[in-house]
C-alpha cells in the first residue's frame, strides 16, 4: 500500500494539526461545539422557563433530586474528563498503548455515569415523575436526556476509535479523530457542570 507512505515514519509533535485535513477537522469541530453550545443554551432556557411548572400533586425537583447519586455521577464524569486529557497527552508523546488505556478508562467511566443516570431516571419514574407529567418533567428529561444521549454517542464513538487505532495505529489520519473526540468529551463534561448547577443545585434550593 504505497499510498500509505505519507502516513509512515516519525509522528509529528502535534499529529492532529500536521495535515490540512487535520487542521480543518479540529477547527470544524470547534465550530460544531459552538453550535452545540447554542443547542444546550436553548435547552437550558426552556428548562429555566418551565422548571416551576410542576403541576398539582407531582413531585418537585426539591423532593426528587438525590444529590448523593448526582454528586457521584458528577465525580465520575469529571474524572473521565481528566483521563481523556491523559489520553491526549499520551498521544502527543506517541505512547499508543497508554493512550488506548486511558481511552478505555474514559469509556468505562462514561458507562458508569450513564448507568447512574438510567438508574436515576428509573427511580424518578417510579416516583411519578414521568416525561409527560408536567412542563417541568418534559423539560427536565429533554435537557438531561439530551446530555445523556451525547454521553452515549461519545462512548460509542470513542470505543470505535480505540478499535480503529488498534487496527491502523496512530497516524496523521487517526490522531485528529482522537483529538476531536477528546474535545467532544470535555464539552459534554462542561455541559454537565451546568446541569449539575442549574438543574440539581438550584432545584434543591427551590
Amino acid at each position: 500500500m504505497s499510498a500509505h507512505s505519507h502516513l509512515d515514519g516519525e509522528l509529528p509533535h502535534e499529529p492532529e494539526r500536521a495535515t490540512l485535513e487535520g487542521r480543518n477537522k479540529v477547527l470544524g469541530f470547534w465550530l460544531f461545539l459552538g453550535g452545540e453550545t447554542v443547542l444546550f443554551g436553548t435547552l437550558f432556557s426552556i428548562f429555566l422557563a418551565l422548571r416551576d411548572q410542576v403541576g398539582d400533586g407531582n413531585p418537585t425537583g426539591q423532593e426528587l433530586f438525590k444529590l448523593g447519586t448526582v454528586a457521584i455521577a458528577t465525580f465520575i464524569l469529571l474524572t473521565s474528563s481528566l483521563t481523556s486529557v491523559f489520553a491526549i497527552q499520551a498521544m502527543h508523546r506517541n505512547h499508543v498503548k497508554a493512550m488506548q488505556g486511558w481511552l478505555i478508562i474514559t469509556v468505562i467511566l462514561g458507562l458508569g455515569f450513564l448507568g447512574l443516570e438510567i438508574y436515576e431516571f428509573y427511580e424518578y419514574i417510579h416516583e411519578g415523575h414521568r416525561f409527560s407529567t408536567s412542563a417541568f418533567s418534559s423539560s427536565f428529561y429533554t435537557l438531561v436526556g439530551f446530555h445523556g444521549a451525547h454521553v452515549l454517542f461519545g462512548i460509542v464513538w470513542i470505543s470505535l476509535l480505540i478499535f480503529q487505532v488498534a487496527r491502523k495505529g496512530l497516524n496523521v489520519v487517526t490522531a485528529p479523530k482522537v483529538y476531536v473526540a477528546g474535545m467532544y468529551w470535555h464539552f459534554i463534561d462542561v455541559v454537565w457542570v451546568f446541569i449539575f448547577t442549574v438543574v440539581y443545585l438550584m432545584g434543591k434550593v427551590g
Binding site: L20, G28, I46, S134, W157
Partner: protein, 628 residues
Amino acid sequence: MAHAHPVKRYTGLMDWLTTVDHKKIGILYLIAGGFFFLIGGFEALLIRIQLWKPLNNFVSADTYNELLTMHGTTMIFLAAMPIIFALMNAIVPLQIGARDVAFPFVNALGFWTFLFGGLLLNVSWIAGAVPDAGWTSYLPLADPTYSPGKGVDFYVLGLQIAGIGTLVGGINFLVTIINMRAPGMSFMRMPMFTWSAFITSALILFAFPALTVGLVALMFDRLFSANFFNVSGGGNTVLWEHIFWIFGHPEVYILILPAFGIISEVISTFSRKRLFGYSSMVFATVLIGFLGFMVWAHHMFTVGLGPVANALFSIATMLIAVPTGIKIFNWIFTMWGGSIRFTAANLFAVGFVPTFVMGGVTGVMLAAAPADFQYHDSYFVVAHFHYVIVGGLVLGLFSGLHYWWPKIFGRMLSEGLGKLTFWTFYIGFHLTFFVQHFLGLLGMPRRVYTYLDGLGFNSMNLISTIGAFLMGIGTIIFIINIIVTAAKPKTASNDPWEDGRTLEWSIPSPAPEYNFLQTPLVRGYDALWKEKMDGNTGMSPAEPIGPIHMPSGSILPFIMSFGLFVAGFGFMYANNEWTGFVKEIFASHAVAGLGLGITLTCMIIRSLKDDHGFHIEPEELTKKEVKE
C-alpha cells in the same frame, strides 16, 4: 504512487449521487432549489387566484391554509436557502483560490439531508396531511389539540432533517474560508460575496441549533405527549415564539446577506470600478450579522412583553438600518462615475437597490412598536417581507445566476431573454406587492382565505394577482433561457464578461474539477483586476505544477440522508390507523429504528474506512489544459 491505488470513478447518474465536488453539489443545489422554487411559486399563484376577487371559492379555507403554510416554508427553507448554497458552493472556493471545500463529504451530506428533508415535507401533499399552521407554526394552533392530523409532523420532521443539512453546510463554509484561502488572500482581500457567505455561515451555525431545539420540543409535544407548549400541563406558548424567532430573525439575515454580497460583486464588475468603501462594507456585514441576533422580539411586539422590552427591541431593530444604509450608499457610489454596462445581471442588481430600500423603509416603520400594533398581521407586513425577500434576495439570486452562469455551466445565458426576465419579473413584483402596503393599511388581514366585497380591497387584489402572473411569466422566460442556453456549445471564455475582478474569472469556464492548476498568488483586493492593471495576462502561480490530490466520491451521504428520511416517517406514523403488519412495524418504532440504524451504520463505515482519494498527475493535467 497514486496509480498504485486505483479509485473507482463513477459516471452518469451514479456520478451525481456520489459526487463530493463542490461545483457539482452547487448544481445539485440549484436544480433542487429551483424545483422547490417552482413548487412554492405555484402555491403562490394558487393563493393569488383565490384572492383575485372577493368571496372567491377557488380553494377551500383549509386548502388555503395549507397553501399558505407550504408556500412560506418551501420558499424560505427549500428554495431560497438552497439556491444561496448553490452559489456559495459554485463560487466561494473559486473566489478564495481553493481547490476544494474543507469537508467535501460533509458538503454532499448537507445537500442530501436538505433534499430528503424537503421531500419529506412535500410528501405531505401526497399523504393528504399537509402542514397548515403557518410557516411559523405558532402554538397552540400547532399543538395536537388544534392540529390533530399528521400535517404539522411533516413540518417538524421535514425541517429538522433539512436543518441538519444547512447546519453542516454552514460549518463547512466557515472552515473552508478560514483555512483554505490561497497565499496572499487575507481576510481583507476577500471578495464581498465570500465575506457574505462567511457571515451567513456564522449566522447559520448560531441560529439553526435554536430551531433544532424548538422543533424537538414541538415534536415531543406532538408525538410523546410532552408539555412544553401545552398550557394545561404547565407549558408556555410564548416560549415557542421566542425560540422560533431567536432562530427566525437571524434566518432573515442568513437570506439577505448573500444577496448583498452578490450585488456588490455585480455592481462593481459592471461599473468597472472597485467596490466603494470595501472595508465599511465588510464592517456593515459583520455588524448586521451581530445585530441580527438581538432583534427577535420585534416579531412579538403585540404579545405583551411590556414597554421596556418593546422599546429596547425597537431601538435595536432601527439600528440595523445604519449598516444597511452604509451598504446602499456604497453601491450608489460604486456606480457613480463608473462606465456602467446594463447586462441582465446588472439590471437585477441595480433594480435591487431601490426595491430593497423600500423594504427597508417599511422595516423601520414596523420597528416602531406603537405603530406596529396597527400594522401587525395585516398585508402591510406581507408587503414588507416580500419586498426584502423577493425584491431583495430573489433579485439578488437572479443577478448572481445570470452573472455566474458561464462560470458554472460554461455557457452564457441569452442577454435578450435575461433582460426580458428582468422586466417582466420586476414589474410583476412591484404590481403584486406595492398595492399590498395599502391593502394592509386599509385593514386587510394576512393569512385569511377570502375577504368581503365593498371594503375597497377588490381592485388592489386584482392588480396583485395580475402582478403575480407576470412574475410567473418572468420565471418561465428564465427557464426558457436556461433550456435555450443548454443547447448551445460551451464557448464561454475564462473571463466572459471581460471585466472580471476576482479569482473565479482567472480559470476556465466551467472550472476544472481541481479548480486551479496551480494555486494562485494573490497580491491585492480584486486579485485578477490587479493583475490586469499591472499588465499581466493572469494570476501568477504560488506553486509549481504537481500532482493534485482529490477526494473520492461516496454514496454514503445519500444513504445516510435516506436513513433520516425513513426515520422521520417511522416516528411520524408510529401512531397510525392502519391494520396488520404495516401497523405493527410502525407502531413498534421498527421503521424509525431501521432508519436511524441506516444512518448510524453509514457513520460508522465512514469513520472506519479511510478515504485516500486519488491524485491527478501533472501529465494528465497538462493534457487536459491543451484539450480545453
